[in-house]
Symmetry: C2
Subunit: 448 residues, 2 copies
């Protein structure tokens, strides 16, 4: 069975010199992470990490499929959600769809155009309805709590546009994805008899991509949800059972935590060498930041800790960020996402070979150039004493995307243990929410 492979040699002292991890340090860290994995297995058996079991729940996939069938065909699929409700589905869409999906002819496209309303920018929201006729659109409103301000505001705009467009049939254009029992969105679904999908309690937004949050859009967009779940399940098995040195989640969490806390490298740059994988890095950016950026440890000490994740795109950002990455402060560690195979092979025509800037490219492929640039940048970083890891995707498929989601989620829980913080909460955003409610006149939040 082929899996994603994590290459760590450029982070070890044998290759990276003093910037890298020594064999003795490595041994100690592997012993430490074994404990963390033991803790996770215990928590799983106690039911406190339900995201781990999402891939085994094929029933929810059937519910998503039957809901999609009942909704029928639409020209557009608009997802209204923010944070984990948007980043996961968008990562799926971009990784697995045609790069210009929304511009394809309907006959070529076969599935709806896909839009994500994950902001409250009036220009974007207003403009959306100029290109997506509500009468030909399915709206998937996603909010775990059912009270997210941005998504609530988007809902009001959607309800209004639909009622003006299709009157009483507006209900046929809505699917809500929310808590199975609680919250305003669930209540509204009951009252108005809207199609509704569950987000399992205990699965937070940033760990929800393998629930109906990601599965329903995937099904509607014709993506291979079955293999997405299969990949995730295989990776969960690997990351909970393999011994640490063969365990990509354990290695990733351990090395990133080590470089942050022991080597002064708090900036974790995920550099995707494939356009399709950049939104995955953006999804990870929430997962890593929101899970680990914490004021207090589990035992209540005030620490203000957490690495800062940064997403970057290769080869593009070689012409934007790599100058800083190579010559700037020694405060970063790098995770390359490398696709070993693309769907297309693009050959470079050997024309104008009298010009030296074109001659060496003619007859080669763009694929080879991409691979060379990834290797060269990695080598240049290593030569400059900058440790780096590479996560290899044999190809960009539903299966490997499922593996990636699960690998990063488990790595995040392991890192939470290593940092000694709760990776599942986000207390720091409460104050801003309350200030927003107050400014907007939400009852019960008046100035004290």
């Amino acid at each position: 069975m082929t899996h994603l492979r994590l290459q760590i040699s450029n982070a070890l002292s044998s290759v990276a010199g003093p910037a890298g991890l020594s064999p003795g340090e490595f041994d100690r860290l592997m012993a430490r992470v074994s404990e963390a994995i033991g803790t996770i297995k215990r928590q799983r058996s106690e039911g406190s990490l339900p995201f781990l079991d999402l891939p085994r729940d094929r029933e929810v996939l059937e519910i998503c499929r039957s809901t999609a069938r009942r909704c029928g065909d639409h020209e557009n699929f608009v997802l209204a959600g923010i944070g984990g409700s948007a980043l996961g589905p968008y990562a799926l869409f971009r990784a697995l769809s045609h790069p210009f999906h929304n511009l394809l002819d309907g006959s070529r496209r076969r599935t709806p155009r896909f839009f994500v309303l994950d902001n409250i920018d009036p220009d974007t929201v207003g403009a959306l309805f100029e290109v997506a006729n509500p009468s030909r659109t399915l709206f998937n409103i996603i909010s775990k709590s059912g009270a997210t301000a941005e998504t609530a505001a988007a809902s009001l705009v959607i309800f209004d546009a639909l009622q003006k467009s299709v009157g009483g049939r507006w209900r046929d254009h809505i699917v809500v994805t929310t808590d199975p029992e609680k919250g305003d969105l669930r209540q509204l679904a009951r009252e108005e008899d809207l199609a509704a999908l569950p987000i399992p309690p205990g699965v937070g937004g940033r760990f929800s991509v393998l629930s109906s949050v990601g599965l329903f859009p995937a099904v509607c967009l014709g993506l291979d949800a079955e293999n997405l779940l299969a990949g995730a399940e295989a990776m969960a098995d690997l990351c909970l059972e393999a011994e640490p040195r063969e365990n990509p989640a354990a290695l990733l969490a351990t090395l990133l935590h080590f470089f942050d806390t022991r080597r002064g490298r708090p900036i974790h740059v995920m550099m995707a060498y494939a356009d399709r994988l950049l939104p995955l890095a953006d999804w990870w950016r929430q997962l890593w930041a929101e899970s680990l950026g914490k004021r207090h440890t589990n035992d209540g000490r005030e620490v203000f800790l957490g690495p800062t994740p940064v997403k970057a795109l290769g080869a593009t950002d070689q012409h934007s960020q790599v100058q800083l990455y190579i010559e700037g402060p020694q405060d970063k560690v790098f995770i390359f996402l490398e696709a070993k195979r693309f769907q297309r092979e693009v050959t470079l025509d050997p024309i104008f070979g009298h010009l030296s800037s074109l001659e060496y490219l003619g007859g080669k492929s763009m694929n080879a150039l991409m691979a060379a640039e990834c290797s060269a940048t990695r080598q240049a970083l290593t030569d400059a004493g900058r440790p780096n890891l590479t996560l290899e995707f044999p190809e960009i498929s539903a299966n490997f995307l499922g593996e990636a989601f699960m690998l990063f989620e488990i790595a995040t829980i392991i890192a939470g243990d290593l940092y000694n913080v709760n990776p599942l909460d986000q207390p720091g955003v409460e104050h801003g929410k309350i200030l927003t409610y107050r400014l907007m006149g939400h009852k019960g939040y008046e100035e004290a």
Copy 2:
């Protein structure tokens, strides 16, 4: 005359407490930055900062216009370029065009669909030609040196696709933008009689948006290039003549440099509270990183310094990064980009008011919610001891975008002076380029 306004009070000790700048420190820094501005004025008069004079050069705008007229109408405009050749034009396009420009009907759109080929991902490049027929496409190939590997590779694909599609008329579909005299792309333009636009010598990629690099796409896309230049010119005058406390470039550079070097805040987060402004933050991310991330000072000391710019989007990233920003390490300073007015006003229908999560929103506008969230996040950061600045855009117009480009460019040169590094070079990317050439078999770069 209204300009962009930089609000700095949340970075001063009077508001921000000990995290902020004290009045005494502020006085000293203002004296120091006056020197830096004096240096810039001298360098300008010596001709070594030609980007400052781009807005006065209206002749190049006329050349862009006449070139655009000669090229005629096309369904698609494809820009092939990377780094500064792509980020500036894309920032312009997104700020000033319809948010879903490429999806509008031709009659509504009136200008070509816009695509940027700024990567060598075979899936993206291959797919582009499935949605953009070369026979109906104008290709603008941008490379200052004329030898950029990624752009060279894209050119070979473009030439091939055009020759297969329109035969000998391929030349009518190409405009190159490159050095006025030197380089392979200029030579090719001469040999093949291609339309060609100049990038003034001495204007590096990341400072080139107000040259034909940005102006030609702007003209072809129907954007207001005249006011773009007028805004930039007005801001150049302000930033070179105003006394430091009234000078947004001086204040921005000074404060960001101070928080990096004196308060341990090397991560500079630019958080745009408008979808249209996020690509501007991405353009700035190159400018700030590549200009200031340097191994050596001007006097040759090895320092490995430079802040790490990060782009973020409000309100979206409140649900991704703000937990870290509020509770994580005290290693960040924030620059908000706030639009005081959007083009559209989106009203929230007062429906389902029996639900508390909808009740407070009904009858308000999405615009008010966006403003409230920006204020709330800024206040929450300030309350958490995290200094922040706000650059206010009275509206998102060509004029203010021109102001923003020039403000950030001048701030970068000032910051180069404060950090004592050369903001105009990028020696750190050479090693990776050579490794790529070697892997690709470029003559003269064989393994030693």
